[in-house]
Symmetry: C2
Subunit: 555 residues, 2 copies
């Protein structure tokens, strides 16, 4: 019983109170394993930021306890931060074959593949990592080779679902391993951590195979070229497009960098099946008549540099959209992308294409469990404690309510946030304290060098632009020897601004004269005087507040 006083610490460093940058620490005694290492795409107000990754301070601080990294699947919100993590702690990475295939590409880009230690596992494997045993359990999701995890240590058994849905008719015929989950439920699960992404949706998610049916219907009788855009990582979706193409004797062309990459990784590893002679090179499309072609491409989210976006503005080098082309966008907009997708659709219409998208036909299904699926998982696993994960705050709350509706006592459910430490063993669970956590912004090569001040300045500059005033002062006498000169950017057309610039100079001159008269020689006071006078003047004239930068050169 002494052992029961020991506790497992479960510390989410991302994915709670947000969608994305999933990462969880499991710490027992002197050992830590990290589950997932994802990125999040920047918010609208994170100007110029490329991606957001978890704050890794806690990991760096406990560097010598880290025994390994375990990945549930190959989506960016689960593997995107891995290069940054491995640069801090170079420990073994355990994941299934396809996931590691995608990881390899990523590490190669960062130039750290050679030094990394990647270990392939498969569903049903149980591996020992320090104090932990980790079991990989097959689940369905919108990327192949996804797993849930059963993580055990002396004092607790945790089931972490990863991202999942229940698909009774999946494309690879491998249904989620409900038997094993039921067995674990019988053996006794201390803590369930489950995906909350779709907890707002009642009912069940539709099977991936229903999309294949839609493709067969949409392709039927079409004599034009068919272009289908979808997520590159959705290998099963791509397989179904290929199947429909084969059904109607069409050749398949793959276009778009990430689509080409992933299809080639998936084919090499046997996750996609393309019979000989079906795939043709993008350069050869002119050799085939339109009715024998299906082009699979990226851009289902309207991403500016993607295949479909370039086609829509006639900037794709090989594919020119022409009247009658059938374009299918096999995706729904991720929140925030609605407008760019909408623009791509309009452009395609203008070029004469017939566009089918999620509002018009069932060309997409979600990869996440809806309410009834979640209920099944809770019921099979019947955990003692529950920590909803992968979701914004409202989703975590709704998932907690769902668990309660199934009879779980409220006090056994924990609404965590990133950094909160859930201490747990078979008889006990409590959120106890908080470790450093948060977000690190990646901008170009910079990791964490852009913070609130830089973002605030970028926002300010984006709203009303910039107004620079330069004055040269005599070093000894403090008199103005040149200027004031004015440079503005992003503020107002100089041509349209009338006398505004000249008037602004006059205002600055007055401010300088006042300073001289009151014998102010302190630079920051002079700068402050320029800034205040100008701000007021410009706001009165334009109702705008550009960033004002007074520069004094001493000569």
């Amino acid at each position: 019983m002494a052992k029961q006083k020991e506790k497992l610490k479960v510390i989410p460093l991302g994915g709670l109170g947000e969608v994305g940058k999933n990462m969880t620490i499991f710490e027992y005694k002197n050992d830590i394993i990290i589950v997932d290492s994802g990125l999040r795409f920047p918010d609208d107000d994170m100007y110029g930021i490329d991606m957001v990754i978890p704050d890794l301070s806690y990991i760096i601080k406990n560097r010598n306890k880290i025994r390994g990294i375990v990945l549930t699947h190959g989506h960016e919100d689960h593997i995107g931060a891995l290069p940054y993590l491995l640069k801090e702690v170079n420990v073994p990475v355990y994941a299934t074959k396809l996931t590691l295939g995608l990881v390899e590409n990523k590490l190669k880009e960062h130039g750290i593949l050679r030094n990394s230690n990647l270990k392939v596992v498969k569903a049903k494997d149980v591996i020992q990592i320090g104090e932990f045993s980790v079991e990989f359990i097959h689940v369905s999701h919108s990327i192949a080779d996804s797993v849930a995890l059963a993580i055990k240590c002396e004092v607790a058994t945790v089931v972490h679902t990863g991202d999942f849905k229940i698909d009774y008719t999946p494309i690879d015929n491998k249904v989620m391993d409900l038997h094993r989950l039921a067995e674990l439920g019988k053996e006794g699960v201390t803590l369930l951590m489950a995906d909350s992404t779709n907890v707002e949706r009642p009912g069940y998610s539709m099977s991936e195979s229903t999309v294949g049916q839609t493709f067969l219907e949409l392709f039927r009788g079409v004599t034009s070229r068919i272009i289908v855009a979808t997520f590159a990582s959705n290998i099963h979706r791509v397989q179904q497009i290929i199947n429909a193409a084969i059904h109607y004797n069409r050749k398949v062309v793959v276009s778009g960098r990430s689509m080409v990459n992933i299809v080639s990784v998936a084919e090499e590893l046997g996750y996609i099946n393309i019979p000989d002679g079906v795939l043709i090179d993008l350069n050869d499309i002119k050799k085939y008549p339109d009715e024998q072609l299906v082009i699979i491409t990226t851009g289902s989210q309207g991403e500016p540099m993607s295949g479909l976006s370039r086609m829509s503005i006639s900037e794709h080098k090989k594919v020119e959209i022409s009247k009658g082309d059938l374009v299918i966008i096999s995706a729904t907009p991720i929140p925030g992308n609605e407008k760019s997708i909408s623009q791509v659709i309009n452009q395609l219409y203008k070029l004469g294409a017939n566009v089918i998208y999620s509002k018009l036909a069932d060309v997409h299904v979600s990869g996440h469990a809806c309410q009834e699926e979640l209920k099944l998982i809770h019921t099979l696993i019947r955990p003692k404690y529950f920590l909803p994960v992968h979701g914004e705050y409202r989703m975590l709350m709704q998932h907690a309510q769902l668990a309660e509706s199934l009879g779980m006592p409220q006090e056994n459910i924990f609404i965590g946030e990133i950094g909160s430490v859930l201490e747990v063993n078979r008889d006990f669970a409590k959120i106890n304290g908080k470790v450093q956590s948060g977000q690190t912004l990646v901008d170009g090569l910079g990791v964490g060098d852009v913070g609130n001040i830089v973002l605030r300045d970028r926002k300010h500059l984006s709203q009303d632009g910039l107004f620079i005033v330069v004055v040269s002062l005599d070093k000894e006498k403090g008199k103005v020897v040149a200027g004031p000169d004015v440079i503005s950017r992003g503020f107002v057309y100089v041509r349209e601004s009338g006398n505004l610039i000249e008037e602004a100079k006059a205002v600055v001159r007055q401010a300088l004269t006042k300073c001289e008269e009151s014998q102010v020689t302190d630079w920051s006071t002079i700068k402050g005087a320029i800034r205040d006078t100008l701000r007021q003047f410009l706001y009165e004239k334009t109702k705008r507040k550009p960033m004002i930068l007074p520069i004094i050169m001493e000569v």
Copy 2:
């Protein structure tokens, strides 16, 4: 028959190929009337812009032909540009009572109410404006007192639906005047212009009254405070919230500037019915127990300064959200607003509120006709020609397809764009030429002074910030007498940047030395050299491209 050679010109200046800034010119002989004068909210890449209005060049050019402005209803996308239009052409404005009530507020803010000539009309009125007769026909929409128009001149009869839906059980019991539309159809309509907003949606829109039913259900048995956020202009929605409040013996509080404004205008004009003693002052809410209160507020789109947003971050002066409060968001997100609404919901959950929104219950219906409603209108009006309006390109195309599916010949359907001139009479219709059209950006007091260059600079500044280099050169010798000094904003934390700034100065010094050595004295060449060297240096070091501004002061 000579008359038939004359043609009516229909020229949309906004609302085609976009959602918003609706405006159409009707020109016959020497007379022009303008239908609607709306604004559009800025796109994401229109940094710092407050609103977008139609390019008014054509109107200004034909100033002395303009006989009047006719408004279909009081939404911003139909009346928001009116102050700017009236500043150019001060002609009579014809609209229904509620619409003019909202217009008055707007003109007052712009200080031009006194000089304006507002003329109240009501449904069934027929007025003569120059060569035109304009008949106002009652329709249902998400704002009261909306009308469609039958516009007649010697050679054509046009029906313009405005925004509409068909509601058989509207809150004010006034069903859209289908009889009059049928009659017009019998008399013969030359051209139909119809709302395409919801053409992507199959079936029928639900009646506004179904939302009232949902309120009654949601309010039932609730013992806490109830807060409902909705569009201020949706008077009928507000009425239903009030009705539900009365049903459960609750008092009603109105909060949020625009909500207070519109409710007071609507009450004054008799569009809303609030029995005595129901409405209480926001300052008095402490006097009533929670179970006797309903607060109606703004912020259903997550707008930062709105009532609900301020409540969600505990910054509302009078309403503090507490555990158990029921918050109902009676709206669906307008594309682009998903994230901000989502954030408000999360915050409210964190404060302990129970939040009901459109994903969870039927708390909203659309104000625009879906496919089956559109089919009814086409069938009743059976026009000779059809110009779909109010929609992005794909919607206009789908609306055209809908008309074709009802038997209209393809050649009688016109996909217009803003500026295109549709010439039409009873036997003829053709798009013939184009007038100047487009968008004018409003930023603070500036109307049209922010264009592509300013926006491009704002975007550049927002992405990677700014890097200023200042050098003082001797006027005669061209030697450096002070500097280079460096100032950066929105680029990188100076604290985090290590030696970057010093290294950058060194790079600039080298460039200056090179210029001196090659006896370059031309300022723009020197500036170019600084810019190029620095750009390359900074990109290598950071993979970022800040705006580089070299400034040379001559002393």
